[in-house]
Symmetry: C2
C-alpha cells in the first residue's frame, strides 16, 4: 500500500480551502487546482489563517508544501489521493471524475466531497468505480471531524484505505453500509429541519425560539452523544430497553404528530423574516467566524472532559 | 407581583432533585414533597452534590434552605411557586394539580415538568387553568438551560411571570405559542430519532456510526446554533434566502426520501444490541456522570467563546 504523501485538492472554494489547511497541518503536500483566477491567492490566505486552528497529529514534523496549478491534469498527476470539491452539478462532477481518473496515478484514490449525489452517480463516468469514493465533510472540515465515506462496497480497498487516511488526520470517518440520498448526517439534519419548518408553519414557535430550543436544550447534548445514547440514558437504569418497553408507545404517538410542511413561498418568507429578525445585522461571514470560534472552544473542552 | 422566595418541589426523583439544586443555588428556599420514604435522604445527598455545578446568579447571597414534608398540602401551603414532577400518568397528574391548587396560596404559580401531556390535559382538573403552566426542562435542569413554557395563552400572566423567574435562574425559557404533542424540542428530537431508526432499519449504518455521525458532525454545531441559523450559514453570503432559492429543491427531495420506520420487536432488538455493543460495560449512571461533565465543559467553553 502506497503511503499518502501528496494530495490533489480539486476545486479550491470554501470546502477545498478548509481541506487544504487540514492536509498541510498534518504534513501532507497539497497541489490545488481551481479554474478561477483569484483562487490561488484566496487559498493561500485561507490556509495561512486556518493552519493554527487544526488540532494536529503529534507526529507531523512540519507543515506540508502548498502548490497550485491551473491545469487539472498537472495537479493530479503526482497525487496519492485526490479530494474533489467542484460545484454540485452532476455533469460537472462526472466529467471531472473521469478526467481525474485518466490523469492520476493508478494507485491514487479519488474522493468526492459531494453532498448532493450518491456514489452511483459520482462514479458513473469512471472506468473503475471502485477507485472513486464519496468523502463528505461538514463545514469547515479542518474543524468538524465527521467524514462520511461511501464506496462501491463498505469493505472496498479504497474505502478502507480512506478510513485510515482520515483517521490519521484526526477525523472521525463513518463508512456507510450502502449509499443513500443525503448520505447519513444530512438525512438526520433534514429530518430536524423539516420538523422545525413544520413547527414554524403551524405557529407553535417562531424561528428564534426554535433555534433557542435546540441550542439550549438537546443540541448541547448532541455535541457529545448521538440519539441512541440520548434515549439510552433517558431510559434510566434500564437504558434503551426500558425506554422502548415503557416510552415506545408515546414515542410512536409523537412520530405520528410530526408534520410535512409545504415549503411554499409563504413559509420560505416566514423563515427568512425570522432569521433576519434573529440575526439582525450580522453578516454570514461574521456568523462563520463565530461558528468557528465556538467549534474550537467545544472541541477543546470536550477533549479534556473526555479524559 | 409577589416576589418568589419559596418553591415547593412536588416529586423529588431525578428531575425534582435537579430542580431543587438549581433553586437552592439561586438563594430560593425549597420545600420538597415526595411520598417515598427514602426520598428525603436521596434528595439531600443529590442537592449537596449538584450545588457546586450550578452556574449561579452573582446576586444570590447564600444558598436557600431545604425543607421536606411528607404532606403535599403542607409542602405547598407557603409556596410562591410550585414545580411538579410526578410520574407521567394522566390520572396522577390531574389529581395532583387539583390538590396543589386547593392548598397553595392563591398567588402561587403551578408549573408541571410534564414531557408527555399538553397543557389542556395537565390543567384539566384545575378550577383556574390559567394558574397552571407547563415548564418542561431537559435533563438535568440544573445544567441544561432550556425550559419550555406553555399556558392557557402565550401572554397569560403566569407564563410571563414564569419566564422572568426562570430567566433569573440563568435558564433559557421558550414560550410556546400554542400547545403541541411533545412541546417543541422533543418534537425535533423525535424527528431526528425517527430518521436514525429508519437508517438503522434500512441498513445504511449501525447504531454506533449513526451516533458518531451526529456527535462528530452536525451535533457539534447544534450546541450553539439551531437549524435555521445552520441553514442560513450554509447558504453562504446570501444566507437562508439563497439556500431556499438554490438548494430548496434538493432539500425537498431529501425530505421525500426520509422514512417512517416500523418500531417492531426486530428493530427494537437491533437498536438495543447496537447500543450494548457501543457502550460496552458502562452503566447508565456512569453515562449520566459523563454527560454532566461534558455539559459543564461545553457550557463553560461557550460562555467564554461567546464573549
Amino acid at each position: 500500500m502506497t503511503e499518502i504523501r501528496t494530495v490533489a485538492v480539486v476545486g479550491a472554494g470554501t470546502i477545498g480551502a478548509s481541506w487544504t489547511a487540514l492536509f498541510l497541518a498534518h504534513g501532507l503536500d497539497v497541489i490545488a487546482y481551481d479554474p478561477s483566477p483569484e483562487a490561488e491567492a484566496k487559498l493561500r490566505a485561507f490556509a495561512r489563517r486556518a493552519l493554527p486552528d487544526v488540532f494536529r497529529q503529534a507526529s507531523a514534523p512540519r507543515d506540508g508544501q502548498l502548490g497550485f496549478s491551473t491545469s487539472l491534469e498537472d495537479a493530479v498527476s503526482s497525487a496519492d489521493f485526490v479530494q474533489e470539491n467542484a460545484p454540485e452539478r452532476e455533469d460537472v462532477k462526472t466529467a471531472l471524475i473521469a478526467r481525474i481518473e485518466a490523469a492520476a496515478p493508478s494507485h491514487a484514490i479519488i474522493a468526492s466531497s459531494t453532498t448532493a449525489f450518491p456514489h452511483s452517480i459520482i462514479a458513473a463516468g469512471a472506468k473503475d468505480p471502485s477507485r472513486v469514493i464519496i468523502a463528505h465533510p461538514f463545514n469547515p472540515p479542518h474543524l468538524v471531524p465527521l467524514v462520511e465515506l461511501v464506496g462501491t462496497r463498505p469493505d472496498a480497498p479504497a474505502v478502507l484505505k480512506a478510513f485510515e487516511f482520515y483517521k490519521g488526520l484526526g477525523r472521525e470517518p463513518v463508512i456507510l453500509k450502502r449509499e443513500a440520498i443525503g448520505h447519513l448526517a444530512n438525512r438526520l439534519q433534514a429530518a430536524l429541519m423539516r420538523e422545525a419548518l413544520y413547527c414554524l408553519e403551524q405557529g407553535i414557535a417562531d424561528v428564534e425560539d426554535i433555534d433557542r430550543a435546540v441550542r439550549y436544550g438537546p443540541g448541547l447534548r448532541w455535541a457529545f452523544m448521538g440519539p441512541f445514547q440520548t434515549y439510552h440514558v433517558a431510559g434510566g437504569p434500564g437504558g434503551i430497553r426500558h425506554y422502548f418497553a415503557h416510552l415506545g408507545p408515546s414515542q410512536v404517538q409523537r412520530w405520528n404528530s410530526l408534520g410535512r410542511p409545504d415549503l411554499d413561498e409563504s413559509l420560505e418568507q416566514k423563515a427568512i423574516a425570522g432569521v433576519e429578525a434573529m440575526l439582525g445585522q450580522s453578516t454570514v461571514e461574521e456568523l462563520e467566524a463565530e461558528r468557528d470560534r465556538s467549534l474550537k472552544a467545544i472541541i477543546a473542552a470536550l477533549g479534556s472532559a473526555r479524559m
